[in-house]
Amino acid sequence: MSAIESLHARWSLDAGRHQHVVFIVEGMRCAGCARSIEKAVRALPDVESVAVNSATARVSVDWSGAGRTGLAQILAAVERAGFRPVPLAGDAASGEFQHERRAALKRVGFASIGMMQAMMYLTALYGTSDIDASMSALMRITGMVLVTPVLFYSGAPFLVGAWRDLANRRLGMDVPVAIALLLAWLPSVVNTFRGQGEVYFDSVGMFIFFLSVGRYIEMSVRHRGLTSSEALARSLPAQVTRLIAGGAEERVAATDLKPGDRFLVPKGAVVAVDATLGDETGIALLDESLLTGESVAARRQGAERIRGGSINVGAPLTLTALAAVGDSTLAAMVRLLERAQTERPRIARAADRAASWFVGSILVLAAMTTVGWMLVDPARAFAAVLAVLVVTCPCALSLATPAALTAASTQLARLGVLITRADAVERLARVDTVVLDKTGTLTEPAGRVVDVRTSPTLARERALAIAAALERGSAHPLAAALREHARADVVAKDMREVAGQGIEGIIDGARWRLGTRGFACVGADVADATTYLGGPDAAFASIDVGAPLRAGARATVDALRALGLDVIIASGDGELAVSQVAHALDVHAHSRFTPQQKIDLVVALRARGRRVFAVGDGINDGPVLAAADVSCAMGQGSAIAQSAADLLLVHDGLEQLPRAIGAARAALGVMRQNLGWALAYNLAAVPLAALGLVAPWLAALGMSLSSLGVVLNARRLAGRAP
């Protein structure tokens, strides 16, 4: 419990009274389990939302800190529901993985050896009538001795799961399985002692073996889904060496680092938090592959931001922390990934509901089969009922989508596209219109000042210095272009930003405005440009900032068109700059759009039945990204845009977008195939089993193969060349 408490301190978003925690639950098998955990936690006071993902076994809880509910109560509620909460991230979780994996492997191994041995003895009884009675008894007893431990060791998860389902008054997937196992095993034991009648020990052994193999594969899929964010979270060092006044050093927990602290990063170590070199001279060489997938070392100097999670591959560094651990780039990315993994996508929720309904119908059908065969041929009733219970496979239904989604997110991660919302893959696959922002998306974020025209009273250098002072500290690409023109003696005070319009501030006692023409240069006669500066005494300037097109912008637009998508540019920049880009790319473009106009455009497109994919970068894009069906932020964009986006492009590889859409379409295709296959299999197999045409062992094989087919079909995606 203490591990979870400390983890909570580390990863929870504690925004005042609102609290949030994510943890893993052991023993989760299916959607039914997820629902009972949700119900148990939701019953607590002050809990705002609970999300449980049955595929990744993650639980995410939001609650208000009114004091009535704490983490301890939430964990206790989960335990009361019959599950064990396990802390997420770090060594604890990987230890749990190892434990779970080893236990599952032992069950599979034990079932496989036991099944083969039992089969060897029991085949001696097949079709022979002249066998010695004492010999026949010996074979049956041996089979019982071998299979009974297999049932209660390897089959334990199913029996326990079914018991838990029934104790919670619901129908899970384990219920028909456990009934079938006990229904085959009990009469076999009775018949062994009676010395007559059929025994089904070989079928029981084989069934458990196939089932445990299925469970093992399911577990591997779940573990793999966790690895991407696990790798990120685990990579942060727990302790750092902090420099204190007088040059002394001390070891402190990484969580104790505060902005402004100076700390040492030896060669080969991971930078714990976002930091800069500050006043230190020299160049830092950093491997950012963990964050961006880019393997070439990045160079950083002076005040440039070094992102937490990058590895120092150059000389030892002394860095100044910019943020606490919880606020660093890495922590934000981990939280976004975690959110994606705790939400269950809509298509999976529908499949879960169907599976639960399905189990109920199977039990009814089994009862009808019993009655039917009792009337026709009581001797065959038993085998037929067994086959009905065994052959149906709600597992394939529930596994169909999570397996495909896991494979798709693995493949997207390899392309450098991180998913931050569970629904993103499905929605990305359906888009038909792309709305692109220009600056920072199609063009390089850092522009250059191309042209400046000023009113007679204003010198060109002074205009640029004032503009640079106003933009100082802004995340807008314009600031980067102006930075080289900044002068130390020109400083702006009382700055105020008007979203989509510009920025204003006091310089040398006068008010200056920088932004759109209507905002900065009312009534002035200035040339068309990207940005305008206006000040006292009719001092005006128009500043043209151009940004080069990103490499691959043209190829990306062409590839998007080849996928059948409409491409539209919506930019807040002036006509001149936008039309250049639009012309170069041969794309329909809207210029000088305010954020509200961009949102209106997206809303209007959606009203016409279009499914809109918005790609953006700047602060102004946050609401636009949220308004679209699915959205993508460039990884270096501002934090607001990232948290609103469904996808993150981690190393600005624009040309990955068409590939990501292709991968998402393939994943949706596989999901449909899987659901169709699972449905078709069950519809075909159940009537055959009810008619007594399927032997119990064949039913066990069919059920396991149908699950396996679903998983392997999804694995195809991960194997596809990106």
């Binding site: 190892q98 994996r101 080893r102 492997l105 032992k106 191994g109 034990f110 050896i113 036991g114 041995q117 060897m120 003895y121 010695d132 004492s134 010999m135 010996l138 041996t142 001795v145 071998l146």
Partner: protein, 49 residues
Amino acid sequence: MSIAYLLVALGLGVFALAVWALFWAIDDGQYDDLEKHGESILEDDPPGP
């Protein structure tokens, strides 16, 4: 026919032995990472003394 009883007992003994060996191997971590050890042969030896 008493040889059959002996053989069955022997078979169960082999079964127990196989299960014990498997469980020992799993607990020993031999199945934890199936790729790592195979690839380790390609890595350079640490520099000798």
